[in-house]
Symmetry: C2
Subunit: 210 residues, 2 copies
DNA sequence: CCGGAGTCTGAGCGGGCGCTTAGACCGGTG
DNA sequence: CACCGGTCTAAGCGCCCGCTCAGACTCCGG
């Protein structure tokens, strides 16, 4: 169980699942995040989740109606966090280039530092039931819109050279999200390094004047 | 079953699974690709695969020892195809920029046009057993090396401006691979369009002189 | 001190899973 | 014609899944 999986660069995150109460429900949810990220939703058993949380299989069903509700809760909280990160960056001060670099940097840092959570959030969408999926898809549209807005403003201000705003938005989001797939804690880069590297590459992608 | 999922831009692919014989084994494998791509490996049942191939569940075990062998065969053939595409582009004629654009374009076209196969190949690695995973990881290293080589040559020739070759390689591969996750047949773009868009964005990323 | 709400466990249910087996069919060879 | 290897099916085995339930423990207001 990885409780110390936070950014070292300070202040970006207090306690990832603080809003989940009571404590037993939070322990189960954290265990589920780890298990889903490691093995995938369908390959994870409720016995495994309960075991990681130090409880009997039956205890899970006091706090959650089904295994799928666990995934839905994780996905919802994770998407809200992602949206908050990008919204802060998009509504900040500075030129479009500065805001785009900030958005990509912090979004990527989150995907790297919280890569177990991010992996579940980004790659287990199809396991959600219809109702929660609709809700999540709506959140994702808002997430996309933050990045698209920055790019549009950059183009309007003559800062960027982007023939296809929608295409560039998609590519940038895709690049950031995929960090959750390949990032390893014992790999070559820290979350901060990947964030800086990616911010730079993305500014090149949109043809920002340097 | 999507048998007509080929590129329209001609000549890149003859018959995706022609090397799998006899015909019943190929039908089962194609059915497995579709099922794995739709639902994921662990959520797919052998009964579902056999059903899609128009056979009884027991028939599967005449041609494959286990469900996992099916995945291993799909993954191996898919990775070999991906490697062949990139090797052709890397060893081709032209400047580094031209070869990089060609590599990204054809790699992305494959991920879009064959996105069901690509999704299994790229996202079901962790479901493989230890032996086949080792084999596949070795193939993936060769795949990465093709792109890294082009970038190194571009930097050496003064065509590209890339501070971190390894980082740029990783980002470019990640960008291409993630196409398999988001691409939809009924979406905004054709495989050719995504290939062209991405080739252009990647040339920007590496600071190619235009 | 009682009683009820909240939390947890041990035991276990119905069902679907991956895979096996016995035997039927079928085209080709002596 | 008999026979045989290759291919297929119907039936089903043993297992483990998601989930349930009866009952025990703990805490707390009256």
């Amino acid at each position: 169980m990885s409780t110390a999986e936070e950014t070292t660069s300070g202040g970006e995150q207090q306690q990832p699942w603080a809003e989940v109460t009571p404590e037993a429900a939070r322990r189960l949810l954290v265990a589920a995040v780890d298990a889903f990220a490691e093995r995938g939703y369908h390959a994870t058993t409720t016995r495994d989740i309960a075991g990681r949380a130090g409880m009997s299989p039956a205890a899970l069903y006091i706090h959650y109606k089904t295994k799928e509700e666990l995934l839905a809760r994780i996905s919802r909280i994770g998407h809200e966090k992602a949206l908050a990160i990008l919204r802060t960056a998009a509504e900040g001060e500075g030129t479009a280039a500065e805001r785009l670099a900030g958005a990509v940097g912090s979004f990527v840092r989150w995907h790297a530092a919280q890569h177990t959570t991010a992996r579940v959030v980004q790659y287990e969408l199809e396991a959600l039931g219809e109702d929660s999926r609709d809700e999540i898809v709506a959140l994702r549209k808002q997430v996309d819109a933050q990045v698209r807005r920055i790019i549009q403003e950059g183009v309007a201000a003559g800062e960027f050279d982007v023939p296809d705003v929608q295409g560039a938005t998609l590519a940038i989001m895709s690049l950031c999200i995929d960090v959750a797939r390949w990032f390893r804690v014992d790999g070559r880069w820290t979350p901060d390094e990947v964030g800086a590297l990616y911010a730079d590459l993305v500014l090149n992608m949109v043809g920002a004047k340097r």
